[in-house]
Symmetry: C4
Subunit: 295 residues, 4 copies
């Protein structure tokens, strides 16, 4: 949001070294080892927060979990301080996506000293796991994620129209259902908000079954809602399929490294791309096709 994060320029040399370890991945063995240890620490600390919420475990191993929780919090605090110290612009890092996540990962534990019960919020540190993409240098994965994101972004208008339609439908169908089932003895449909919740559960084909229609008319309307939901799921699926097809096609044409269907066959005469892997002559001008490096 404010340019790339870069290495501190002034100050003692240890801050540059710290930057290498914390932010780089392949400069030396320490950075690599640190990254892998960090991922392990993040995953372990998430498991600790989860186990701490299980009553039977929390009672038996309270000391252990409490200690582990503070151990990881102090560790992540030191890491956060180190990152702040070793970047050129502290503000830029603090306001970056990972900067905010890194802060949110340690705040809940400190907060729990003031307001007990908030340590569950520390689960937010699961988001730090997304660093795994950088650590394992999974550029390819990021390329694919970008492509999925682009396809989503391109179809956002259609998806919003679809969601507004679904929400309007669910409010209306829920209200009709309330009129049908609301007066029945021992009904589950006690109010319109509850019935709208039920309509969402039914239309999305989740079907918890905690609320079910009792009357024949109610079951008939429920069956229609289910068939609508069963058919309407085709709409977001169709939208995303079409966008993904375009994204894949565009990536292939523009030589985007995230395209997995890109080949390097180009005509030596007319330079036209897009030939098959096994082509020897240009399908447009009849010239010879050669393989070139696109990157």
């Amino acid at each position: 949001m404010a340019g790339p994060i870069s290495r501190v320029k002034d100050g003692p040399p240890w801050r540059g070294k710290l930057y290498d370890i914390l932010f780089e991945t392949d400069t030396n063995g320490y950075a690599k080892a640190f990254d892998i240890l960090l991922i392990v620490a993040i995953l372990t600390s998430v498991v600790v927060v989860m186990l701490d919420s299980v009553e039977s475990i929390a009672e038996d191993r309270h000391g252990l979990l409490y200690g582990a929780e503070w151990f990881f919090t102090v560790l992540f605090t030191l890491e956060y301080a180190g990152r702040l110290a070793s970047v050129e612009s502290k503000r830029r890092y603090a306001l970056s996506f990972f900067g905010i996540i890194d802060l949110l990962a340690i705040v809940p534990t400190y907060l729990s000293l003031l307001a007990p019960g908030t340590q569950s919020l520390a689960i937010i540190r699961i988001l730090r796991v997304l660093r795994v993409f950088r650590v394992l240098k999974l550029v390819r994965y990021l390329g694919e994620a970008r492509m999925l994101g682009r396809a989503m972004a391109a179809s956002r208008y259609r998806i919003i129209v679809f969601l507004i339609t679904v929400v309007t439908l669910v409010v209306i169908l829920g209200s009709i259902m309330y009129l049908i089932e609301g007066e029945v003895e021992g009904t589950d449909f006690t109010s319109i908000p509850v019935t709208v919740y039920w309509a969402v559960v039914t239309l999305t084909t989740v079907g918890f079954g905690d609320i079910t229609p009792q009357t024949t008319v109610g079951q008939f309307l429920a069956a229609i809602i289910m068939l609508m939901g069963y058919g309407m799921i085709a709409v977001p699926t169709g939208i995303v399929s079409v966008e993904l097809a375009y994204a894949a096609h565009a990536a292939r044409r523009t030589g985007d490294p995230s395209a997995s269907h890109q080949n390097d066959m180009v005509c030596s005469a007319c330079r036209a791309p897009g030939h098959d892997e096994d082509a020897r002559f240009c399908k447009t001008c009849g010239g010879t096709v050669v393989a070139i490096r696109l990157e």
Copy 2:
């Protein structure tokens, strides 16, 4: 259904001004402010109707909700009267989609004086929220909605064939299930209509669980119904995907502003866009087609 709605032509000038405020969106600041206030009023009144159905809230805040309900009803009545007064043809507005919705939004509250309990019908005013598209001038959204609508319309024959197949299947499978499970002690499958309802619940993968097979044969048939439903969901999805792909392609060709996939093939003679990727001659003037950068 009877031509566009237009401003009243005769009468005092305040009726023309009223038209501007109620029907236009960008003529002056008043119209814009009115539109935003209207959307807020619609959403608030829908929340009031929903909360009124929650027993615990309705008892505590009965006076407040009752007052709010009548406040919004009177407000919407005045608005409806104003719209009627300021249009050229009252009949044309009254029979238009929004004219009917505007009327239905106020009728239930008046009806509840005669027949208590009908005020829940006022939830129909959620449909007035669709005005949001006009207010926010979301032409782009309307274009996308039209495209989704076109794709749906183009595939209506296939979807009807699919639905007839599903209904026939569900009646037959439900009846077979009734023969298998209907005689079991304490069965949930008490009649064929109930069993057909269960078959819809199962085939659409909703699965409430209020009715479940007890016998091994019943569970075997249920498993087959589930696998059918799991596989058959592919049919509407495939139909809509293909139609959306065609609609997107058609939109690209015709230069529809709702098409996000415009290519860069332009005629070098007449500058007409919208040619196929493989076109060599302009389909409009016969000139040579070249690829240019559109951005």
Copy 3:
């Protein structure tokens, strides 16, 4: 299965007239009226069978339902006899799809005299409703149904491979689940067949909830099965989408009347088809594009 059904050639003229009424739809007003009455009779008789299974209705209106059931059975028996009498080859009609359905629609009621309880089987007459396609001359619908059928047939190998994979997966996952949950006190997973049934319920995302895992390990495995089912639904969907896209494309190219995306733009110089609706010049040779009738 044995050539088309045709009008009786010899015999008195009333048999030819009977054929016209029973098998034709547009020769005269009687045939049309008969067809519509037939569809109404079929639907009514299906409703009678369904209502007869509802205990509260069956007790109150037993005489009415019993009478209606026999009325329709005698009616359909007379119709079946008439059809047999008026066709050239009785064997050909009796072995045709509709011939078998017509017979199955009347047999259960007679059988119920010998074996009470079998009248529920009369629900099979719902299949006679498929005649509606012929009655309403919905050739277009039949074309679409054929296209869906072709797409299904073309992907049958892939769908069978997918189903074998799903069944194998479900047996293995169900057995592992039985090992995990089978020994727990008060478990729902009482045997491998029940657990395999649960695995189908879970993998297809139906989720009745009559059988649910209690242990943490069981819930973890259940979560993995759900994610598999959530992702695997993409496979049949993708298969059918691709096949439908090909079927639509092929229909367009071959001028099949069931193709809705067929246009009639052909180049007058090189006869190349496949131009846009708004094309005036051939995109390949630059010649003039004209609209011709393809049928």
Copy 4:
């Protein structure tokens, strides 16, 4: 993993004959008969293991099931020994996919002598059923399976990105839900792991209903999770659809026998098929491409 399995080269001639029966399918009638008997034996033995877990059956027919189980185990042991004896490299067969499955199919029954209860593991022999592909010489099915596998492999990066996103989402949403519902009297959301399990059940639209939100805020968040799951199912579906479309296209080009969509573009000089629809020159010899009828 270590080259193809081949017939033993030395030793007495009965080992070569044994190889023909056990590994070949069409050399003589014995091999064919053996293969069919083997499939029947595998399916029967799987049914025996399943029935053995049903308490009511196991008690009544314990002797029969116990005998059948040992009969099949001895049979499969002899078969395994025969396969080992008749192959050139015992190690190669023992480490092949079917070699491992063949061993795992017999081990559990022997293990049950030492550790009772492990005979349920014998269900693993269901995997031996995959031999059915070879027995029925369903090369076509294998081609389709390979194509599905290729499409899956090509989209693995996108699917992994999608799964990491889903898991992260489910952990975060589960934890928020725990904060909302965890303190309610008589809640089902007793710990974060249980709530994350519920989030998977809800996001994948399975919806068991064993755990359901009670508070209005919880139901609101649950509705949002359901809508996300309902929309997100489009992502894997879109990914697989696009990949299958590419795989089908690629198969068409390379003349793969599993491709059912061969087009009719053939070179007029060298008769090579598999050109694009828009190709004008042969990609292999540079000759002119023409469209011919393939059937």
